[in-house]
Point group: C2
Chain length 305, copies 2
């Protein structure tokens, strides 16, 4: 495994060395390490890049690491990872992607992840995206996440992009059966000339299903962010979407949420707020001895925590 891969793994997955339990480490489009366990079987796909992750019914408390790293310029990586999570399993999946460029050519990672949760299954899905390196080549990460949750299942997704990703289009689709829940927390910071687009679409198909989409973002420099979300309430269900964005410098943010109640017992709510850091917040911290820059950094840190 390359040094840069090890550095990226630390950044995106808090991994230092091979993890315990099931894992698959992807490096520049190839497998740099893989391990299954008794409960979690990871097998390469036939005919296309990627893996199938089969989590047996009832599996409890295990982690699955599937980070992907791109270590140099001029890489165009595409991967399909499918998770089949058995009934009443309860696991944590740590994805995450780091892209390093050192030259003029761009590199990109396109990870297409599908989650099929059986009845009562619970998944915590964590992903961090980061770009590093001195190259002028763009660092591009386009994750696509498809989530199907059967009766009583739940998935909690924590997705974070903190810096260095020049361009990202983040597509997430959800389809929820009765009594199932989806919670998505997204945190994005963009700077320079970066662009980030988020695109959620969730179908609430079963009675008692519910979704929460919570997005917090900061757009600095001349960066540009678009937040789109669509929630369809097709039954007795609850949907909530929330987008809070801080703009700085010449950052631009659009929030375009969409709620559609197709059923009288659907209850849907959305809130969005876009603005700069309030002047009085900065003043307050400056009276405590911080410089203006330190005060701003502190407020943003709290906002994205």
């Amino acid at each position: 495994m390359k040094n840069i891969t090890q550095q990226l793994l630390g950044l995106v997955s808090d991994l230092f060395g091979a993890p315990d339990g099931a894992y698959n480490i992807r490096e520049d489009g190839a497998c740099a390490g893989r391990q299954s366990t008794d409960q979690i079987e990871i097998t390469p796909k036939m005919g296309k890049p990627g893996i199938d992750i089969l989590i047996k019914p009832g599996t409890q408390g295990e982690n699955v690491y599937i980070p992907a790293c791109v270590t140099h310029s001029d890489v165009d990586d595409l991967v399909y990872n499918d998770f089949y999570v058995g009934e009443n399993a309860d696991v944590t999946i740590i994805a995450g992607c780091g892209v390093h460029t050192e030259g003029e050519e761009s590199s990109q990672h396109n990870g297409i992840h599908r989650f099929f949760l059986q009845k009562g299954a619970h998944v915590r899905y964590v992903e961090k995206h980061i770009g590093i390196g001195e190259g002028t080549g763009k660092r591009i990460i386009n994750p696509q996440t498809y989530i199907e949750i059967a009766e009583g299942g739940s998935l909690e997704m924590d997705t974070v992009q903190m810096k260095g990703v020049d361009s990202t289009r983040r597509v997430t689709r959800g389809k929820l059966a009765a009594g199932s829940r989806l919670l998505i927390k997204e945190k994005i910071m963009t700077h320079g000339d970066q662009t980030a687009e988020t695109d959620f679409e969730v179908e609430l198909d079963g009675d008692g299903s519910g979704v929460d989409l919570i997005s917090r973002s900061v757009a600095k420099g001349r960066s540009h962010q678009v937040f789109r979300s669509k929630i369809y309430g097709n039954c007795a269900c609850t949907g909530h979407s929330e987008c809070d964005a801080i703009i700085m410098d010449h950052g631009v943010v659009s929030a375009i949420p969409e709620l559609t109640a197709n059923h009288v017992d659907a209850a849907l709510i959305h809130e969005a707020a876009i603005g700069k850091i309030a002047g009085e917040q900065i003043t307050k911290l400056m009276t405590l001895g911080l410089t203006e820059e330190e005060a701003e950094a502190k407020i943003i840190e709290g906002f994205l925590k």
Copy 2:
């Protein structure tokens, strides 16, 4: 003037007989009465249907009535009304449209209203839309409202559609200069197979400008409503959009607001909530002696007041 016109005028403009002051009454695409005053001059347009309404600078406290009525089936009315409101004028404009059909053919009124407010001008713009009659022909009302407000001006728009309008597409565009304000309050109730679409788009172009869009709607029967709003903050400005909808029976509502902050000093907020009347609210009123239907009616009345 026809009896039905008189009935419609009462419903949409609270007019019983010709009003004091400036007015123009439109009946089935023709003028059924017009009056100018010293301060407010109403003249027919050359080459296309409609009128120009010239309100002199400094005009204070006058009303302008410009209702439009369609009294029978198979009418396709299109009218262009332009309001030029002089500096520091302060007037109330009462529009409103009623469509009556008695036969199988549909009738429609398309009113395209443009407002040009000079510096410091204030307008209160009131419009009610209604459909009546025993005909199976559809009653269609498509208002378009273009609003340009110069420095320090303000426009307050109250727009209401309570019943009988089978199809409506309501387009409103605003362009705000420094220190100007736009307040729009919309109330819509749809029933049966009606459709209603609202489409706001406001550009906040001058420092200190502000917009509030407040929409309340009720969708009964199999009716279908779409609420769209776009607010562009291009300067130091404030924008707020709010969409509250009650669904009943098989009513469907979509809310699609869009906020774009193109300037670091733009502060934009949106909220939307769609749902049915809370069960406990109905129960509470029923314990006070109301039937379930009466309780629902009471709650909706309060919601749309």
